[in-house]
């Protein structure tokens, strides 16, 4: 089966995020009632696995490998089975 995993990598809470600050400043400048903004990164990984459970475990291993634990945390935001053979190569 082919699955699409959505991984979210973010700076740990408490680590100053100057990108988020810059975006926050612009939004506030536009008059939006924004409290704060943090910028993260989304990875959509299409992978093959025998079951949803295996796909979830694989996605977590990938997330851990790609995250710098000193400054970041990752979350598996979503996992969905893709129709048929699409996504395979």
């Amino acid at each position: 089966m082919t699955y699409q995993a959505t991984l979210l990598i973010e700076l740990k809470p408490g680590i100053l995020d100057p990108q988020g600050r810059a975006v926050e400043g612009v939004l506030k400048g536009l008059g939006h009632p924004v409290e704060s903004v943090r910028v993260g990164r989304v990875l959509e990984v299409v992978l093959r696995a025998e079951s949803e459970e295996e796909a979830r475990a694989l996605a977590s291993r990938i997330g851990a490998a790609l995250t710098n634990p000193v400054m970041e945390v990752f979350t598996l935001e979503g996992l969905k089975a893709l129709e048929g053979a699409e996504g395979g190569r």
């Binding site: 100057p18 810059a22 790609l66 710098n68 400054m71």
Partner: protein, 228 residues
């Protein structure tokens, strides 16, 4: 002493490093990121650049390169390992040095000359300097803000593992002279054993008058002193 200068896809300070080793009278050669045997070398230099386009994070993908197993092996055996700029980012990503390098506080790619104070002159990389000496070295990075959690930072400072610190021309350390927001103005650190150095400023770009300065040459001359 023979040094390997690793070329990753996107390295761009590799030839500057070769030149610096040459000026200091040391043997060095380029090796590709696919190399899996560095046994003929006594030390490794990870040059600056934009490995793998700095995609994901600077240095994040380079840590998976085949050569890194050998870099770790040399580091474990006590050989000198130096990472400059992107090389420093690779060393932290690979876990050979603690902490991480975050986006500069001002969000700018900052390319200029800065002053750094030599905090330790008893390392294989710094013997040709004297403690407290102020060097003028170029920096060129967008992600150079050294970060570590409070416990790690305390340990680094307590164990005297900060080798270079951003300063004013007289060695005064203050936020006014901190070009990227690094914690405690940290510009370079070593591992516990003192044989793995990571630094953001580029010593290899300051080894000849024609480059605008020679303050970086001491690092390479220090390594040359190790030979005997």
């Amino acid at each position: 002493m023979r040094f390997a200068v690793v070329q990753f896809p996107g390295s761009n300070c590799d030839r500057d490093a070769l030149f610096a080793f040459q000026v200091a009278g040391l043997k060095a050669e380029l090796v590709p990121h696919t190399e899996t045997d560095l046994s003929r070398f006594d030390g490794v230099f990870l040059p600056g650049g934009f490995t793998y386009g700095d995609y994901l994070r600077p240095g994040a993908l380079a840590k998976f390169a085949p050569v890194m197993g050998e870099v770790e092996r040399l580091a474990r055996r006590g050989h000198p390992v130096i990472g400059v700029c992107n090389g420093f980012q690779i060393l932290t990503e690979a876990g050979l040095l603690p902490g991480a390098l975050l986006a500069n506080l001002n969000l700018h790619f900052t390319c200029k000359e800065v002053h750094v104070r030599v905090e330790r002159a008893d390392l294989p990389f710094t013997r040709a300097y004297r403690q407290g000496q102020v060097l003028r070295l170029p920096i060129a990075h967008a992600e150079g803000r050294y970060y570590a959690d409070p416990e790690t930072l305390e340990r680094l400072e307590g164990e005297g593992r900060v080798v270079f610190r951003y300063s004013g021309p007289k060695g005064e350390v203050s936020e006014a002279y901190n070009p990227n927001g690094s914690l405690n103005g940290i510009a370079g650190i070593v591992n516990e054993r003192g044989n793995v150095l990571g630094m953001m400023p580029h010593p290899e770009r300051a080894v000849h008058e024609v480059l605008g300065g020679t303050d970086g040459l001491g690092l390479f001359l220090s390594l040359a002193m190790e030979v005997v």
